[in-house]
């Protein structure tokens, strides 16, 4: 027994020692060369650059830009740029992780091929291996490009933002290259939640975000059901035409309809107020009064969101088994009873998970708010936010207009926590729906 597994163990240990050694031992020279090359390249990179970069991630630099006396003059000497150090450090860590994964793959590969030899076979050549990868590793081959893309353009940036929440990277005092950025632990979160200057704005904006998400979801959802039922009624002619007309708002690019709405609702020249005046009324400050701006947002969002709900509900309505209604007719049920006991439960059941996802989407509904009101009208009660700002639009302003990166990141993390807990809850609910076996 001991003798039989000898090749596998030897090859694996050799590969632990140096990438590719085990493969040489298994007489897979082509593959060994590839692994060795990766190994040498990685080690060179680590010793020339990457260890230094990881160090930079830990210290975030120790020399700020300062004046130095050179001869008789003072010269401005560039200091460390903490944020670049952070990004490079992060990249180095990612490369390090990839290196570790490759290393493990290398050891496993040596072990497996050693096993093949233990059983009296010959380890496959490079050409054979490539063929094997095309077969067994095919899904990974397909996924390699998407994974690299997501790694560098989604995961790394998110990791960077999360790290930023734990630093003091923020205007006016800690903006590189002028000055250094330092790790501060949970201080940013503490400031956001308990420091008066921030907490007032945070809880105010959070409250409106929740109100907005509830109202916009509920109005669109029930609006959609209502419109779908309206078209679906017996006796309504031209059902297809109505449907096509009602989807028009969905066919127009959102940013265009929102910018148009912003003009339509203009206080002085907008046609809406013009019609009000036509009837002898004063018109309303649609976008310039905090309360009416909120009303306008909800109404405009209904205009944009109802078509989608309507399409979905119409799909469900046609799927309700006809015999349910026929059975109800036999029992002499009234129209209202049928609606209450068959149609509504069916629609609600089928769309409940969707409702939660829409709610989560509305918490992050950047476009509607930013393009219609930009978060305005401005208010003195809030710090860098207007009275219709959601957490996301506030985050955007904190980042792009005010360079308060650490606070913005902390807000982002909090949004994530809210949405993640909602989604997990909804996920478990959906599961229970499926188990109940009412639909499908």
């Amino acid at each position: 027994m001991n003798n039989v597994r000898k090749h596998a163990k030897t090859a694996a240990w050799l590969s632990v020692l140096t990438m590719g050694l085990g493969q040489i031992y298994n007489r897979q020279y082509g593959k060994a060369l590839l692994f060795l090359f990766v190994h040498v390249a990685a080690l060179t990179a680590f010793f020339t650059r990457l260890f230094y970069d990881i160090g930079g991630l830990i210290t975030l630099g120790d020399k700020a830009t300062h004046l130095e006396k050179v001869g008789r003059r003072y010269v401005n000497v560039e200091g460390d740029h903490s944020i670049f150090l952070m990004i490079y450090g992060l990249l180095a860590v990612i490369i390090g992780l990839i290196y570790i994964v490759v290393y493990i793959v290398n050891i496993r590969d040596a072990y497996r091929n050693g096993q093949i030899r233990d059983k009296g076979g010959i380890a496959p050549s490079l050409a054979q291996t490539i063929r094997n990868v095309q077969n067994e590793g095919f899904p990974w081959l397909l996924l390699s490009l998407p994974i690299v893309g997501v790694l560098f353009f989604t995961i790394m940036p998110i990791a960077f933002m999360v790290l930023m929440a734990f630093t003091n990277y923020s205007a006016p005092d800690h903006i590189p290259p002028k000055s250094l950025v330092d790790w501060v632990g949970f201080k940013t979160f503490g400031d956001l939640l308990f420091l008066k200057a921030w907490s007032g704005t945070f809880f105010g904006v959070l409250t409106w975000t929740v109100i907005w998400a509830v109202l916009s979801t509920v109005t669109c959802y029930f609006g959609g059901i209502f419109v779908a039922l309206l078209i679906h009624q017996k006796g309504i002619k031209l059902k297809g035409l109505w449907r096509t007309i009602f989807i028009i708002p969905y066919a127009i690019p959102q940013f265009i309809s929102l910018l148009i709405m912003r003009n339509l609702l203009n206080d002085k020249f907008g046609p809406i107020n013009q019609y009000f005046r036509y009837f002898g009324l004063d018109g309303l400050p649609w976008l310039s009064d905090p309360f009416w701006a909120k009303v306008s947002l909800i109404v405009v969002n209904m205009w944009i969101g109802i078509p989608v709900s309507m399409i979905l509900v119409m799909g469900i309505l046609t799927a309700i088994p006809k015999d349910l209604y026929e059975a109800a007719d036999v029992d002499g049920a009234s129209g209202f009873t049928k609606f209450k006991n068959i149609t509504m439960p069916y629609v609600l059941f089928a769309t409940a998970p969707l409702l939660i996802m829409q709610f989560a989407g509305n918490i992050n509904n950047f476009n509607v708010i930013f393009l219609l009101t930009k978060g305005d009208p401005k208010t003195l009660d809030y710090n860098m936010a207007g009275s219709t700002d959601l957490l996301v639009t506030w985050l955007y302003k904190l980042t792009l207009d005010n360079s308060r990166y650490n606070i913005a990141s902390a807000v982002g993390i909090i949004i994530f926590l809210i949405i993640a807990s909602l989604s997990i809850w909804s996920y478990s609910r959906t599961k229970s729906f499926k188990e109940e076996d009412m639909i499908q």
């Binding site: 944020i83 990004i87 095309q134 077969n135 899904p139 990974w140 397909l142 996924l143 490009l145 998407p146 893309g149 560098f152 353009f153 989604t154 790394m156 940036p157 998110i158 960077f160 933002m161 309206l230 078209i231 009624q233 017996k234 006796g235 309504i236 109505w242 009602f246 708002p249 127009i252 690019p253 959102q254 940013f255 265009i256 910018l259 148009i260 003009n263 020249f269 907008g270 205009w303 399409i311 979905l312 799909g315 007719d329 089928a350 969707l354 996802m357 989560a360 950047f366 930013f370 930009k374 985050l395 955007y396 980042t399 792009l400 990141s409 982002g412 949004i415 994530f416 949405i419 959906t430």
Partner: protein, 281 residues
């Protein structure tokens, strides 16, 4: 069952009112785009004097208080970005969905939950890092950087396509594999031809996604002549408030036409995709 007359009448009145509300903003904008003058205010719904000047202005590159409006350029930029992102994004999204849907391999569950979790971060959490990254690669203010950002994230929207692939019978590939076809051949020759509805849906959504995106376009495209329509039209409204409404209206009509036309022709696919995505959860 009898439906009372007054109930039907009421329903029709409601339908007509909703239809008016749906059409009005678009109709008003189209009318304004042909209206003489530049103001938002209009005495009648159908303008007294009609003109094509605003469209002409856009094509000739209008000057607004010394600021060029290179509309044709913006349109061309948007088209380039949208078409390339559509091709790359669709490919990446389909490949990801196919791999996840049709193969069972170690790490599959982990990838699926990672995609779910990543979807919960607000998209622009990644903004600053992307900004600095592009700055370092000297790719800021480039259309292709925008394409890169859109396509790199395309894999995360794979769930609808995965749901579609799940419905194709397994026997399809199995028999082809037995006949000796490679995985690539199966994907290109057997799966893709069967997937026209989902290809159409994914292409349409990635195309319009890139066409209408405002957030990343505004972040990455710094100089005026590199802007896309979304950024350009936003600035037009934001800078001039309502004083140049007719010009903006003409621009909006032109910007909305490609998307609206695509939508009208491909409505069926879009609705099927939406419904599928919703019931799959």
């Amino acid at each position: 069952m009898k439906t009372s007359i007054w109930k039907l009448t009421l329903s029709y009145i409601l339908l007509i009112l909703i239809a008016l509300a749906c059409i009005y903003p678009a109709a008003f904008t189209v009318m304004s785009s042909f209206k003489a003058g530049s103001s938002l205010f209009s005495e009648t719904f159908i303008p007294r004097a009609l003109t094509l000047d605003h469209y002409k202005n856009l094509f000739q590159g209008a000057d607004l208080s010394n600021k060029q409006i290179p509309f044709v350029r913006w349109f061309w930029n948007t088209l380039q970005v949208a078409v390339t992102s559509m091709i790359l994004g669709t490919l990446i999204q389909l490949i990801t969905a196919y791999a996840i849907s049709r193969f069972r391999f170690a790490g599959r569950k982990a990838i699926m939950s990672t995609v779910l979790v990543l979807g919960m971060f607000p998209g622009f959490m990644s903004m600053i890092a992307i900004y600095i990254l592009l700055l370092q690669m000297n790719m800021l203010d480039s259309k292709w950087a925008l394409v890169l950002v859109y396509s790199a994230g395309a894999a995360l929207g794979m769930f609808v396509a995965k749901g579609y692939f799940d419905t194709l019978p397994k026997a399809l590939e199995e028999s082809a594999r037995i006949d000796g076809a490679s995985h690539w051949t199966v994907f290109w020759r057997i799966i893709l031809p069967l997937s026209k509805p989902i290809i159409t849906y994914v292409s349409l959504t990635t195309f319009t996604g890139a066409w209408v995106d405002f957030i990343f376009a505004r972040l990455i495209l710094r100089s005026r002549e590199n802007w896309t329509l979304a950024v350009g039209l936003f600035e037009l409204v934001d800078n001039y408030q309502s004083t140049e409404f007719t010009l903006f209206a003409a621009g909006s009509v032109l910007a909305a036409i490609p998307v609206a036309v695509l939508f009208m022709f491909l409505q069926r696919f879009l609705i099927d995709g939406l419904t599928a995505g919703a019931t799959k959860g």
